[in-house]
Amino acid sequence: MWLPALFLIIGLCIGILTNVSIPADYINYLSIAVLAALDTLFGGIRAQLEEKFDQSVFVSGFFFNVSLAALLAFLGTQLGIDLYLAAIFAFGVRLFNNLASIRRILLLKYKQRKDAV
């Protein structure tokens, strides 16, 4: 559990220290990709807690969601429809659902442990 967290921090450090920045035009795509990535991450944590985590689902979900989200945003820009808003909405709702599930599972586990004691 600590290894992914460590790598998350390493990734943050690399990103900040290398001072890479992308053109303002592409920020939309990246932000939606980040949202998709976070959604997948929280989905993974939830699945882990529910003990039905599948690595292949997680990995494929990560890459598929991220690229699909960026593609959707790109398509929306080309068509003049704010499709990225739809993606932000969908991912946002899922993110909160996942967070709610995680919280509920943790609470349940805490209660169970308390009852056992």
């Binding site: 992914p4 790598f7 450090c13 890479v20 920045s21 690595q55």
Partner: protein, 241 residues
């Protein structure tokens, strides 16, 4: 079992690394909008000098206004009336509502005939007059009259049905006479003569002729100034509140 966990952890970690990297890039991109200040000390010093000059001018203006206020307060009623009348006259002159004389130049816009047989009579577009007025203002012109139409701060120059309207009245066809008053007439004349605006006008078959500095009298602006849609900044702010 023991063999699977490191592999799984590795994949997870890799994805976390990617996520962290993406978030950091997004953070970086959103935090670098302002450009770097690349001026060297000399440039900054010059800019500072300019600002100081502006400040000094403002102080001088304040002092002038305060002196005027003092004058008003110290004078008797009759003198106050005189002073106010004087101020009004000054303001009218500044606004272009009274006749103004001085040293200036006469600029003639004449049709330029290069090929007399095949050429139509040249016409000028209002944009060219705008350009010329801008050039004159940049060269230090103080007051301008086009075909005896005095230009004030809100004078329109428009194209209506193919002819130029200044102050909402037509100035007819070429040639046009423009009278210009300036503090340093010689400089204005030299600047205008060396300007490339001659070439632009020549393309429209119009020649610009500038007279020697001479005494010039500008007519007053003779229409009503419509200030209905003009508000001071303070009023605007109050309205918005």
């Amino acid at each position: 079992m023991k063999k699977r966990i490191p592999e799984q952890a590795f994949m997870l970690s890799f994805i976390c690394l990617l996520i962290g990297f993406m978030v950091a890039i997004l953070f970086n991109s959103n935090n670098h909008p302002e450009g770097r200040d690349t001026r060297d000390t000399w440039e900054i010093r010059t800019a500072l000098l300019e600002e100081q000059q502006v400040q000094q001018d403002l102080y001088q203006e304040i002092r002038k206004e305060e002196e005027m206020l003092n004058e008003y307060q110290e004078q008797s009623e009759h003198q106050q009336m005189e002073a106010i009348k004087e101020s009004i006259e000054t303001l009218r002159t500044e606004a272009g509502l009274s006749e103004k004389s001085g040293t200036g130049v006469e600029i003639s816009l004449l049709p330029l005939f290069l090929n007399q047989e095949k050429q139509a009579y040249p016409t000028l577009h209002a944009e060219f007059l705008h350009q010329l007025i801008n050039q004159l203002n940049a060269a230090g012109a103080e007051d301008i009259a086009i075909e005896n139409q005095r230009l004030i701060a809100i004078s329109p120059i428009r194209m209506v049905n193919g002819s130029i309207y200044v102050n909402n009245s037509s100035i007819g066809d070429l040639p046009y006479i423009i009278h210009v008053l300036a503090e340093d007439v010689e400089k204005l004349k030299l600047q205008l003569e060396s300007s490339e605006i001659h070439d632009y006008f020549a393309l429209e078959d119009v020649e610009i002729e500038i007279s020697e500095p001479q005494p010039v009298t500008l007519p007053p602006y003779d229409e009503v100034i419509d200030l209905q849609e003009i508000h001071t900044q303070d009023n605007l702010e109050k309205d918005e509140e």
